[in-house]
Symmetry: C2
Subunit: 223 residues, 2 copies
DNA sequence: GGCCTTGTTGCGCAAGTGTATAAATAGCCT
DNA sequence: AGGCTATTTATACACTTGCGCAACAAGGCC
């Protein structure tokens, strides 16, 4: 009785809630992306990630075999979201091919695709592509998927203009248009304040139409 | 005599050579860039860098107050080299503005500017621009410098064609052309094998000429 | 040649890292 | 209500990290 003194836990054990497995995984991945975007790969430690997710570090190992798998999961989620958003701008039915192309360019050069956080994540991960074949392949697949979408719309646009480009020309157009969008996307993410709202999209549309040899729609042709 | 036993250094102290200050700094910065490109920011530890540079880790502190300054120095050196190389393609005298523009595009889309290592470095550092104002400013300055160069050549090209674009048009052209070059540069660095030699340059030149509304030089106009 | 400066090494340290594992408790099932 | 189990916490551990410091020696100077 008297001997077993009061356990007197000086520090109470932390309260916690049990969450569904999928929910926790998503939370952890989101916290990982937050940390990578904010502190870089070196600053994204398990403890920081756990803190951001509102759990303790040990829990991560319950959902991921190790840090590497967590990062891979985070990158996969990021790429998935990016390509999904980019392609979403193409689904508008009942619009002329040209309108769809313009809408596609505009969507890819406006919020939420123009976003500094996403750019930071993209750059941080893609910077490792040279050393990590997994990343390199993931980029390649995403890039080709995106380019094929572009190529499909371009084909529609040119068909509507009674032009019949061969496969080689189509490929070149798609590569060039993809580059235009990528280049403007980067600048918009890195220094958005340098451009007035809608300016990047306008520049992009003009450049794309020039690449395809399309006459401007409304304005008088050049000066 | 007998007491002070043989010091008997089991391991001999490492031999070394004294190098000039500037030489050592450059070596250390180069080793840093190597490590960052190969292992990322997290893998670029003082010990790894020192090993690559052929010195011991402690020496780094003799030349840089801390790791952060070393990384800043490395990034500064990288940016300097990149812009220097990019601009070097413009110095050719005795060439028509159009030839200079084409040469500029070609140079920026060929080796050594198309280079996976440099791209990895660029991406790794620029990914931190969102969180590090120093990096953001460095990028901004480099970008504007590059864009101004582009704008100057564009002005020359259009002047030679008897066209008189206003400042706003010139700005838009420069932004678009810069984006074209950047976008193609990225693809060339990330997946160079996907393009035949000179293909990116050819696509870039065509896209730039389309953006400026220039008729192709040799071939019959379009198809 | 011997000294003196200082570039350079070698080692130690506290903080932080990813991983491993035991102890606790939240919440479902009966 | 009470037990079971899987989720979650907490702690330990081996290792690495950036940094500080004292000893050492390379190479110029007299």
């Amino acid at each position: 009785m008297p001997d077993a003194a009061d356990p007197a836990p000086m520090t109470a054990r932390r309260k916690f809630r049990r969450e569904g497995e999928e929910r926790r995984r998503q939370d952890l991945i989101e916290a990982t992306l937050d940390c990578v975007a904010e502190y870089g790969l070196q600053g994204a430690t398990l403890r920081t990630i756990a803190l951001r997710a509102g759990v303790t570090a040990g829990l991560i190992r319950h959902y991921f075999p190790g840090k590497e798998e967590l990062l891979q999961g985070a990158y996969t989620a990021l790429v998935g979201r990016m390509t999904e958003q980019a392609k979403a701008a193409l689904v508008m039915e009942e619009a002329s091919p040209r309108q769809r192309l313009a809408a596609f360019v505009t969507a890819n050069l406006s919020a939420p695709i123009i976003d500094q956080r996403v750019f930071s994540l993209w750059a941080t991960f893609i910077g490792r592509a040279g050393a990590d074949p997994t990343l390199a392949r993931a980029h390649r697949e995403g890039y080709l998927g995106f380019r094929n979408e572009v190529e499909a719309v371009v084909a529609e646009v040119l068909a509507a203009e009674q032009r019949e480009p061969d496969a080689s020309q189509l490929r070149r157009h798609a590569i060039a248009i993809n580059a235009i969008i990528d280049g403007l996307w980067i600048e918009g993410c890195l220094a958005g304040e340098m451009f007035s709202p809608g300016e990047l999209a306008a520049i992009g549309i003009k450049a794309v139409e020039a690449e395809l040899g399309l006459a401007p729609l409304k304005q008088d042709p050049e000066k």
